[in-house]
């Protein structure tokens, strides 16, 4: 059984719509605030960035680290969450 969190399961279960960036797995309150300050106020904006980076894991992880200071686990969680969502809905 994959070790995905509850947040992850909820996010990938349905289209994200207007969900806030906090809804992403791995993005908590602190990281969410940092992302909003940079202009990424909604989950779909982060999705947009993920797609512009061609869904590449390394690039996305680096970008996330540079933008909001996410650690390795948080980067992995967010990446996995977005990737799975894309597999289902994109």
């Amino acid at each position: 059984m994959s070790s995905t969190s509850q947040k992850h399961k909820e996010f990938v279960a349905e289209p994200m719509g207007e969900k806030p960036v906090n809804a992403l797995a791995g993005i908590g309150e602190v990281l969410g605030k940092r992302l909003e300050e940079k202009g990424f106020d909604k989950a779909y904006v982060v999705l947009g960035q993920f797609l512009v980076l061609k869904k590449d894991e390394e690039l996305f992880r680096d970008w996330l680290k540079d933008t909001c200071g996410a650690n390795v686990k948080q980067q992995g969680d967010c990446y996995g969450c977005l990737r799975e969502w894309c597999d289902s809905f994109l």
Binding site: V52, L53, K54, D56, E58, L59, D62, W63, D66
Partner: protein
């Protein structure tokens, strides 16, 4: 490259491709990330370029040495005349090897390499260097031993030394020096072997490490080998016979435990 931020998106994209960095479109949100990646790639590239590799110099030398082969004629008056010749032919092998011996007796390049004295016969320095001394004859054998290397001593060197060294003489042509490298790491070793006399006969890769005493045979043989081939075979047979003798004796000892069962 300075001022990455001043470059256009297209230029950034070209740079990313140049460094082989996987990337997507360069837009406002991705640009800082790519600039950072380019900076790291450039710094890394600069480091690798400036780092000199010591081996390079070594190889270069080798190449140079290779040319020597034909020039050298067996100067050795002492050793069998044939030595020089056989040596020469082996040279081509040498050059491949990391060359070293190219110079039958005159190894000029040796100096860089860890090498040994290029001087074919008069190498007093040999003792210090742990490398191959070209000194063909003049060096006292003692030095040879210490060095544990191939002294190239062309012919006059007593064979025992030869063996100890893990010798390379053979190696000259057959470069099988793995033994040599143990501890010595000479790349030059091949050339150490230059002892032309021994090299030709030594084509066997395995060093003659057999008892040092066995080597005593003077290389006066005209065949150009330090130790005649037949002698080597003889020694081998003696050792093999000895081992067989021991083995058979061991077997008989095993039978004694069975007697106890009664």
């Amino acid at each position: 490259m300075a001022a990455l931020s001043n470059k256009s998106d297209q230029e950034i994209k070209d740079l990313l491709d140049e460094y082989g960095i996987k990337h997507g479109p360069v837009v406002d949100t991705t640009r800082p990330l790519y600039e950072k990646k380019l900076k790291e790639a450039m710094a890394k590239a600069k480091v690798t370029v400036t780092k000199p590799s010591p081996d390079r110099t070594f190889y270069r030398e080798d190449q140079e040495e290779v040319t020597y082969v034909t020039c050298q004629t067996p100067v050795r008056s002492e050793g069998p005349s044939g030595d020089g010749k056989p040596y020469m032919r082996s040279r081509p092998e040498y050059s491949e090897r990391d060359r070293v011996d190219d110079k039958p007796y005159s190894r000029p390049e040796y100096s860089e390499r860890n090498r040994v004295d290029d001087k074919p016969y008069s190498r007093p320095e040999y003792s210090e260097i742990d490398r191959v001394d070209d000194k063909p004859y003049s060096r006292s054998k003692l030095e040879y031993r210490e060095r544990d290397r191939v002294d190239d001593k062309p012919y006059s060197r007593s064979k025992p030394e030869y063996r100890e060294r893990d010798r390379v003489d053979d190696k000259l042509y057959s470069r099988s020096r793995p033994e040599y490298s143990s501890g010595r790491q000479y790349i030059d070793e091949p050339h150490v072997y230059n002892t032309p006399s021994s090299s030709s006969s030594y084509s066997k890769p395995t060093p003659v490490m057999k008892s040092g005493g066995v080597v005593k045979k003077e290389n006066t043989t005209s065949s150009g080998r330090l130790i005649p081939l037949w002698i080597q075979f003889l020694v081998f047979l003696i050792v093999a016979g000895f081992l067989y003798f021991i083995f058979t004796n061991m077997e008989s000892a095993e039978s004694s435990p069975f007697n106890k069962i009664q």
